[in-house]
């Protein structure tokens, strides 16, 4: 008699989650290879990929803007957030508690509130909306994430290591560059990656602070979809999913290897 496997409750939950998480992706994947534009699958074709890569100048322009804003704001936020984390963990100064408490606010604030407030702020300053304002806005909401990830790393390590560096002749700057930064590299990297992702996908805040000529990819997709879902978007989504996986997987392995070596 063969043993019949009764699906347990946890199995059921597992498969439900898998279906809900991956079914939409799978549908997307499927329709990106659809020969026709409609809701029925009429045959396998690469026509939408062709259209994506050779007939979508607007889309690629938007993509380029998104990427440059993502890289720029992530790098700025990583620089500022790391310095803030090191500063609050190493030094005592007036307003330190305030900085620590306030650093969380952009994380918990509803995006729409943040978008509006940034818009009002820029308008008040008389700044022209465009790439610069998007860059500033993205940097602003990215800093807390970097700050948090780097702070966590800083709290982990033994502060006598820093004293040892000073004792062995390193000045403040050398201690920062040769000891503290190398030890918190994993935190800095994951902060940067998180910031890139958050910036790439942000819609709400960007929507408020964008101006003419600064259409990022999410804004472009949103405007394109208003005239019906183009299968080109499906193809783009598949490309992005694959790209993300290719990017994230090796960096995770690197972080793990680094953590093991440390």
């Amino acid at each position: 008699m063969s043993r019949r496997k009764v699906p347990s409750f946890s199995d059921a939950v597992f498969w439900t989650v898998v279906v809900f998480l991956f079914m939409p992706l799978f549908v997307l994947l499927l329709y990106s290879f659809n020969a026709s534009k409609g809701g029925t699958f009429t045959g396998f074709s690469l026509v939408w990929y062709e259209r994506l890569f050779f007939g979508s100048d607007q889309l690629w322009k938007a993509f380029g803007k998104s990427v440059s804003i993502a890289l720029g704001s992530a790098s700025l936020a990583t620089f500022l957030g790391t310095l803030a984390a090191v500063g609050t963990s190493r030094y005592k100064f007036f307003g330190k508690g305030y900085v620590q408490a306030m650093s969380f606010v952009p994380m918990i604030l509803p995006e729409i509130v943040m978008g509006v407030s940034l818009l009002v702020f820029f308008a008040g300053l008389g700044l022209k909306l465009g790439m610069a304002t998007i860059l500033i806005a993205h940097t602003t909401f990215n800093i807390p994430f970097v700050y948090l990830l780097v702070s966590a790393r800083l709290e982990e390590f033994d502060s006598s290591v820093i004293e040892a560096a000073r004792d062995l002749g390193a000045n403040e700057m050398q201690t920062l560059l040769k000891v503290i930064v190398p030890m918190i590299v994993p935190g800095i990297l994951s902060g940067w990656l998180t910031a890139v992702t958050l910036s790439l996908e942000d819609f709400v805040i960007t929507f408020f602070v964008a101006g003419p000529g600064s259409t990022t990819l999410p804004l472009y997709i949103y405007s394109a979809i208003r005239f019906g879902v183009s299968p080109v978007i499906n193809a783009l989504s598949v490309v992005m999913v694959v790209g993300t996986v290719l990017l994230v997987y090796p960096s995770r392995r690197f972080l793990k290897a680094f953590a093991a070596g440390a």
Partner: protein
Amino acid sequence: MLGSNVSISGLSKSFGDFKALKDVSLEIKKGEFFSLLGPSGCGKTTLLRLIAGFEDPDSGLVSIDGRDVTGLPPDKRRCNTVFQSYALFPHLTVFENVAFPLRIRKTPGKKVRELVKRHLDLVQLEKHADKKPSQLSGGQKQRVAIARALINEPSVLLLDEPLSALDAKLRQHMLVELDSIHDEVGITFIYVTHDQAEALSVSDRIAVMDGGKILQVGSPQDIYENPKAEFVARFIGDTNLFSGKVVSFSNGISLVQDERIGAIKVEAGNEAPEGSWVSVAVRPEKIRISLAPPAEAGPLGNVVKGMVDEPIYSGFQSKYYVRTPGGGHLVVFRQHAQWSEGVPDIKWKDEVWLSWSARDAVVVEASGTSIAPVVSGDSLDE
């Protein structure tokens, strides 16, 4: 000041309301193995951190090699520290950890290799140069920390309980090694420990600390044989403490009236004049224990009768806790020096005779007035 390497005068440090160090002064000679010994929380680490420059004193001066360094940062002082937690750089190999101070000073590569190799040889780690700290054992990590601290050729090496994270056996081994490293490099070691056996075995001199103060400074023999305070006598080794009024003084012998033990003869010259109150310490190995009464006490002999409360056998010797009829407690060591057939065993509840010479008693505290000090003669209540 001549010949002194580290000189500390009137050093005080408070954390909030808490006075961690109270007016500490010390002169440490060049090349000395100097230990700071005291119970947990007495301020040893604080004193060391003030010497290293991690902390600034509230008042007082620190000078190294005759130069006032008070207020200077650690990298401007010619001393290096071996931390209790090793404090190795986890992202660097053993080689690069040791080379760190040289890299900071931009020493040429060839010189770096040469110096690092010499120092890794010194601590016997030449085979582990390419490992990361996480791949080393505790003892090996400690050696890396020592090599790294020595490579700058400091004039003083500060060690804060460097062996406390190691197991007992390895600790003994590392202690011997530390001693030979000290002999080889010839610089001053300031060694913090709360383990009296450790301090006694390697130090040239010891400072015993308690409650943020230095109670006594001296050679290990000095500290052990002539404790100058009750705390020192109690903290270093086992001890029997008696206290009471000196009821008579003649021919250099003071008779101290301890309320539980009775009258005790003490040869202490003019440290215990008639009418004063004194505390007197007698080390347990100075007391003889026997089942039969000793032949003749003589003018210097003390004889006390008692009952064995607890015998503790530990191989090379036995330790006996003996209770006297007056309610006093004494602790006595007996060496198992010879094959002991024929010498009767001393067991629990046996009636015993204790005897010692008035010369082996040391006055640890005295007050000229006749106010009773608030100490008891009970050496068991630790």
